[in-house]
């Protein structure tokens, strides 16, 4: 089915209260609805029960190492861009039990719990976040290797995407190879038209999405003019990107593995790992074994890990990457360059989280530019 036919089959323009109806319909269909909420001064992804839980008329101002929310009358439900959380938290939880073992009469009885795959509905997924999911699909479910927990959670999750009508100050999805316009990979796609006549264009992208959209009452079927209006919203956001990633980033990095600039980054880098924790594609994990005091019971847990720690590169005899220069170089060259060879795509979606949530505002786009400018590019 072409995109046009699909949208004609289930595309409606509904008044703003249709959003609440949508959330409630998903809950009735057995989904736990997760969406943006204001929490401790930021927009995070938490369970939402109705549209009233969403950050209505809130706009985020972001920069290197800074994030502030402010009220903006008439801005709508999705005027913010991305915050410190990503959907990775739900598809690839920070802490997962791999197996538990109990001492039996002879040996051990090992039990690996079936991965829980609750029916979650993600509300307000941005284009960059859909790309992040597609990138993590290639890591966790790529034909060669499959993480059964990830695959089950991903299959169970229903995606309500939203087109960005605004770009943030640290956004650069356009130059990272994506765009603020959601093209594919959603069950339901929303485009918000805030203001006096506050409406949503609601498009279905899957059979299960279409069932929900068709059941929405009120409003009218969408026409060509509505689709064009949606396009104008994302076009405006695309023109307002706060940052830009150099197109030749992979080459710049590959050609400058030895460069004094790495040391200059290291002088600022805290090795705190915030960039990797907030990155929606970073996937590294470690495992920890815990034991009962009397040795009768043991468990193996998998937790988020980061290439910015000493333990991460520890092998017999010591750690390979002992300081900030080696760790930052590892992270950025993997993310922007060697990820291509490994997974056939860049590891960066241009969401800008690593810039905003770096406590000292280190900017991935600026570091690439600095390497290129300082005589790096031949």
């Amino acid at each position: 089915m072409s995109a046009k036919q699909k949208s004609e089959s289930a595309a409606r323009v509904v008044p703003a209260d249709g959003l609440d109806a949508l959330i409630r319909a998903l809950a009735r269909a057995g989904y736990t609805t997760i969406g943006p909420r204001v929490e401790d001064g930021a927009v995070t992804y938490r369970p939402v029960g109705s549209a009233a839980d969403l950050p209505l008329d809130m706009v985020d101002e972001q920069g290197g190492g800074t994030y502030r929310l402010r009220a903006s009358k008439g801005a709508g439900y999705f005027a913010h861009v991305v915050g410190p959380h990503s959907w990775k938290r739900y598809l690839y939880p920070p802490r997962q039990l791999m197996w538990r073992a109990s001492r039996a009469r002879s040996g051990f009885a090992v039990e690996a719990p079936e991965p829980a795959a609750d029916k979650l509905a993600f509300i307000g997924v941005r284009a960059c976040e859909l790309r992040a999911m597609e990138i993590q699909d290639r890591v966790f479910d790529n034909g060669q290797f499959t993480d059964p927990g990830y695959r089950a959670r991903r299959a169970a999750a229903l995606v309500v995407a939203v087109n960005c009508g605004r770009a943030g100050d640290t956004c650069f999805c356009v130059s990272a190879g994506g765009g603020p316009r959601v093209e594919d990979g959603y069950d339901i796609l929303l485009t918000e038209f805030p203001g006096k006549d506050h409406t949503f264009l609601v498009q279905a992208g899957s059979a299960r999405g279409a069932r929900v959209v068709k059941a929405l009452r009120g409003g009218r079927d969408a026409g060509e003019a509505d689709l064009r209006a949606a396009q104008r919203r994302t076009d405006a956001a695309a023109k307002a990107m706060g940052r830009e990633l150099a197109g030749d980033a992979p080459q710049v990095l590959r050609e400058n593995l030895e460069h004094p600039h790495w040391q200059r980054v290291a002088e600022r880098c805290l090795n705190c790992a915030n960039c990797t924790m907030v990155c929606p594609t970073c996937f590294c994990s470690t495992v920890e074994d815990v034991t009962a005091l009397d040795g009768s019971h043991a468990e193996r847990w998998r937790t988020w890990d980061s290439c910015f720690t000493t333990d991460f590169s520890y092998i017999h005899g010591g750690a390979i990457r002992r300081g900030g220069a080696a760790r930052y170089r590892q992270w950025i060259t993997h993310k922007l360059a060697s990820w291509h060879e490994q997974f056939g795509t860049s590891g960066c979606t241009g969401c800008g989280r690593c810039i905003t949530w770096c406590p000292v505002g280190i900017d991935i786009t600026e570091e690439v530019r600095a390497l290129a400018a300082r005589g790096g590019r031949k």
């Binding site: 929490e39 401790d40 001064g41 930021a42 995070t44 190492g65 800074t66 994030y67 502030r68 410190p84 959380h85 938290r89 920070p94 802490r95 002088e267 600022r268 880098c269 805290l270 090795n271 705190c272 790992a273 915030n274 924790m277 907030v278 920890e288 074994d289 815990v290 034991t291 009962a292 005091l293 009397d294 040795g295 937790t303 988020w304 980061s306 720690t309 000493t310 333990d311 002992r322 300081g323 900030g324 905003t356 949530w357 406590p359 000292v360 505002g361």
Partner: protein
């Protein structure tokens, strides 16, 4: 089959508030399991019964602040197969190490009616500065889960899961919003070792650094950001690093750079 002898555990106190020893008593449900796995041979806060050394595992709380302490810690070391220090005092000198930056005689003169009764050292120092330490568990107070993990690991012959990475990792795994980025709150999280369960950031406060410096802490960069971007004065930057773990090398050097 003869029952294996249970390892003998001793808990020692030096200059400290007893809070870390309390963490052991605070283990509640697990305390029975601990008592079942070891012989509590010396633990004055819990029992007057004293069994003579040597001890398989000694937990040492507190810092060295008097000539008597400095002598006694060697006796403890000699009687202990494994010596584990617990808490900010034992691992960094504790809050009482603030005197290391001042003239201790002036304090004694100002505080005590008979200064000549007071026999104290000029500095409060970590146990590591006096004897060999097998494992250091930091925190003010220590986290009881981590204490159990350390005991457990030693009893089961494995490495304790006590990561040396930043507090930020703990905050991010928990989903806590960064107080530094979202509200400009000064926070030592990026240079502090995780372990407390991100207590302060989860309550909207910056990290006080109770767990001491993490591995490879870049205090210089954090201090520069606090001063240049968040507008802290030299004095305020100094005070950030001069708290409960002021005596830890990395924090001491950074605070002295802002004297």
């Amino acid at each position: 089959m003869a029952k294996a002898r249970k390892p003998k555990l001793a808990v020692w106190k030096f200059s400290s508030c007893d809070g870390c020893q309390l963490s052991l008593l605070d283990c509640e449900d697990e305390l029975l399991a601990v008592a079942g796995s070891v012989d509590i041979a010396y633990f004055l806060e819990a029992t007057r019964a004293e069994l003579p050394g040597p001890y398989d595992v000694s937990l040492v709380e507190g810092s060295i602040t008097t000539p008597h302490d400095a002598e006694r810690i060697h006796k403890v070391r000699r009687q202990s197969k494994v010596l584990i220090t617990i808490g900010a005092c034992a691992t960094t000198g504790g809050i009482q190490a603030l005197r290391n930056f001042k003239d201790v005689d002036a304090f004694i003169g100002a505080v005590y009616a008979h200064p000549d009764f007071i026999d104290t050292l000029a500095k409060s120092t970590a146990i590591r500065d006096h004897v060999h330490v097998d494992f250091e568990l930091s925190g003010c107070p220590i986290n009881k889960e981590q204490l159990l993990e350390v005991l457990n690991a030693h009893l089961n012959g494995r490495k304790p899961n006590v990561p040396a990475h930043s507090q930020c990792i703990e905050c991010k795994r928990a989903g806590t919003v960064c107080v530094m980025v979202s509200r400009g709150e000064p926070c030592l999280g990026p240079v502090t070792q995780a372990g407390c369960g991100n207590l302060c950031p989860a309550c909207g406060r910056g990290c006080f650094g109770c767990y001491g410096p993490k591995e490879t802490p870049n205090t210089t960069s954090l201090a520069a950001w606090l001063a240049n971007t968040q507008g802290l004065s030299q004095r305020q930057v100094r005070h950030q690093f001069r708290g409960i773990t002021a005596g830890a090398d990395a924090f001491r050097k950074e605070s002295e750079a802002h004297d």
